[in-house]
Symmetry: C2
């Protein structure tokens, strides 16, 4: 069979590249190849264990999008990309001839080889696989004590949701603070406080040496010699790009194992694109490869690729990737865009920081008001905003997106200080005490010295 564009994968990246590409190039045939008929909303996965109750409430609308757009879907697995003949071989034995190919194969959970006992029953990972997750949810029903290893976003969110669902959860992190790769200490500590108040047990600065038990996991052996009993262990120690197909087809990878791409998501083969978790990203600020895996980043890449499949229609003015993370614990939101203070220092930037607190409503006596905090990281000599972190209520996600737009526009401290924002009693902090701008002022006063 011949088709103009083949997309491998139907998660956020695959869905968006096909939909965008078809909207822009309605005259071309698009075919998506995906294993399972139902694809999970990736960032919603922790919430199927609590807030949204079942994976059936967390399905990407990919099928509907494809059908409405006239995009063909094949439920099969591609076993080989034949670049010379521009065909894909399918498990079913069929072949699919392409003009342009987009690899959106995503990532799989990291399974650390040094950690003994991963093969035991009741040891779970968090893949983006509905069948696996449904089975896992089923098995967790009878478990009371759960240990989560690794306190990145997935570990934190899984722990909070399982705790909300009545489990006794202990979250173990070898770094001194949870979410330590995303936030500076002062923000991580705020998340820790809320998690503890909600009943999640935290063990930080401690490593797991081994998963103990016989056939089934019975607990974990910690590096201080203690054994923590548990009915189930959840491993949330990051993800690795799924690049098997690309590797087999000799498409070059970078040193971190991601598929090498240019700014327009083109691999070294001019007819093959790679997007999402499997594709290389360069940091917007540091220009180094950045192993970040975010659905929002994947979708940005998918939009760029979809627009530029056949010629460069949309110029990417922002070169590189900015990481914007956000999460919520209960009604409290936390987020970060760009570099944290510790990352900036590690990269060799000389910086000043600005910090301010306020209330995300005004007057603060209004219902559902939260303490809001903003920390900004500013290049000392350039005055350029390199990063920002925020906490507050549920508007924190968009507040951090605003900081993201600030960073991507390379705004400096002077421009941001004189920029205008809008405020409203029920929606934002007060105009006089708006923490983002107070943090700029705080940095500016230090910066001028």
């Amino acid at each position: 069979m011949k088709t103009d564009v083949v997309v491998i994968g139907s998660s956020a990246a695959g869905m968006v590249v096909a939909a965008t590409g078809k909207r822009v190039h309605p005259e071309k045939d698009f075919t998506v190849v995906t294993k399972q008929p139902k694809t999970m909303i990736p960032c919603g996965i922790p919430y199927i264990f609590g807030s949204v109750e079942t994976s059936n409430n967390n399905i990407l609308p990919a099928e509907k999008v494809f059908e409405q757009a006239g995009i063909k879907v094949i439920h099969d697995v591609i076993t080989k990309i034949d670049r010379k003949n521009k065909t894909c071989e399918l498990k079913s034995g069929d072949k699919l001839e392409y003009d342009k190919l987009v690899i959106a194969t995503g990532s799989t959970p990291h399974k650390p080889t040094w950690l003994k006992g991963l093969e035991k029953n009741n040891v779970f990972f968090v893949p983006k696989d509905k069948i696996y997750l449904d089975d896992m949810q089923d098995q967790l029903k009878d478990c009371k004590d759960i240990v989560t290893i690794g306190a990145g976003f997935i570990g934190v969110e899984m722990s909070d949701e399982l705790n909300k669902n009545g489990k006794n959860v202990t979250l173990i992190e070898k770094m001194p603070n949870i979410l330590g790769l995303a936030f500076d200490k002062e923000i991580s500590e705020k998340v820790e406080k809320i998690l503890k108040e909600r009943g999640v047990n935290l063990l930080t600065g401690i490593s797991v040496k081994e998963i103990v038990g016989s056939e089934s996991a019975e607990g974990v052996l910690l590096d201080n010699g203690d054994i923590l009993k548990a009915d189930a262990i959840i491993i949330s120690m990051g993800y690795r790009p799924d690049v098997k197909l690309a590797k087999k087809a000799d498409i070059p990878l970078n040193d971190q194992g991601f598929i090498r791409v240019d700014e327009y998501m083109r691999t070294s083969d001019p007819d093959i694109f790679a997007i999402g978790d499997c594709a290389e990203k360069r940091d917007f600020v540091t220009r180094k490869p950045n192993p970040v895996m975010l659905a929002s980043t994947a979708c940005a890449e998918a939009r760029t690729a979809g627009m530029n499949l056949f010629k460069l229609s949309v110029i990417k003015t922002f070169s590189g990737t900015i990481s914007i993370f956000s999460t919520a614990i209960g009604n409290s939101g936390f987020g970060v865009a760009g570099l944290t203070e510790s990352q900036a220092i590690a990269e060799g930037f000389e910086i000043v920081t600005g910090y301010a607190e306020g209330i995300d409503r005004h007057p603060g006596s209004l219902a559902d008001s939260h303490q809001q905090c903003v920390k900004l990281i500013v290049g000392k000599e350039s005055g350029v905003i390199l990063g920002g972190e925020a906490c507050g209520g549920l508007s924190t996600g968009e507040l951090v997106n605003m900081i993201g737009i600030v960073i991507q526009n390379r705004m400096n401290i002077n421009s941001l200080f004189t920029a205008q924002i809008g405020t409203h009693p029920l929606l934002t902090a007060s105009p006089a005490g708006y923490p983002l701008l107070k943090a700029v002022e705080n940095a500016l006063i230090k910066w001028r010295k």
Copy 2:
């Protein structure tokens, strides 16, 4: 008495200019002259009639800010500015010698001379005056049927809060839609729908000819000849700059009656600044005088003035004013930044628009999710984003602030399309369906044709 800096007024602008100025110039004496000891949070005023219950819950923290910063406060009224001798004369008979003077006298409600009956009892305005508002609140207690004339933000918010408080409220607007100066029709209609569902009666496209009654108002005569009975009438027909002092001192005003200022809020007198509602603003996009009055704009001006009182320390890279409005009705938020479609067309811009809808959580089955919509206004030849409107839940305020940062950075459709945002199930729309970016795509596809 001699002081380095005199600030006239202690509302948002006066408070922020004094606080910022003192932080940057700790060696200077700052003196604020203000009439009443307690200053209202201006944008919180409608909420004292409902959500926050009393004006005492809506006080600016000016006193505390001044005390902590070592800023002197005089409760008095300045009757004259003597520019030659650089002194202010006070009602008490004292004189205040200044080096730099900041006029932050704000605005007062517009009282249209063509509307008969304004002098009757039970006809109210909405000034930023605690004593007046407390008295008004007291008198409204016994009123059941209330008519609000003028459906700008204050009229809409007052009507909704009084309705929430059990009053039978009718909001009358002569334009075809409420909030018609702020939003395009499609967004105004969404606000109208919610207001009606909440029980506010709306009369649009109808003018009030006269307030009827004898000593006390008993209703309004409409231009269709009907009489609408009411126990109280609230006039919310805009505000006018309070420039009495400036006028008396021969400080030049612009054609709209605002004090003329440059980008750094300096009047024609090099030692006198004017900020906030009484000061001229130029539109960031159209470059025309813009009579917008917003606490957030006032605070931006106050920060700029405070930093630049004695020399130009902070360069204002964004020239002009961008209006960013937001409001909330119940749990729904609405906002706008920059030009609307109708404003852009009236200004002679050739434009394309982009529109998209989505859900502000993902999956949409999560609690408290709202339909979110974004409309973007894009210059047809330049591709520059001129304005944006949004509706959704309570994160709409920060979403619109993000659009404000987009506009102020003169981002074009191409840059915004390839920009990155962050998403989270509990905080934002989905990465694949994020309405801001879908609206860009929608505009981009039209724009490329």
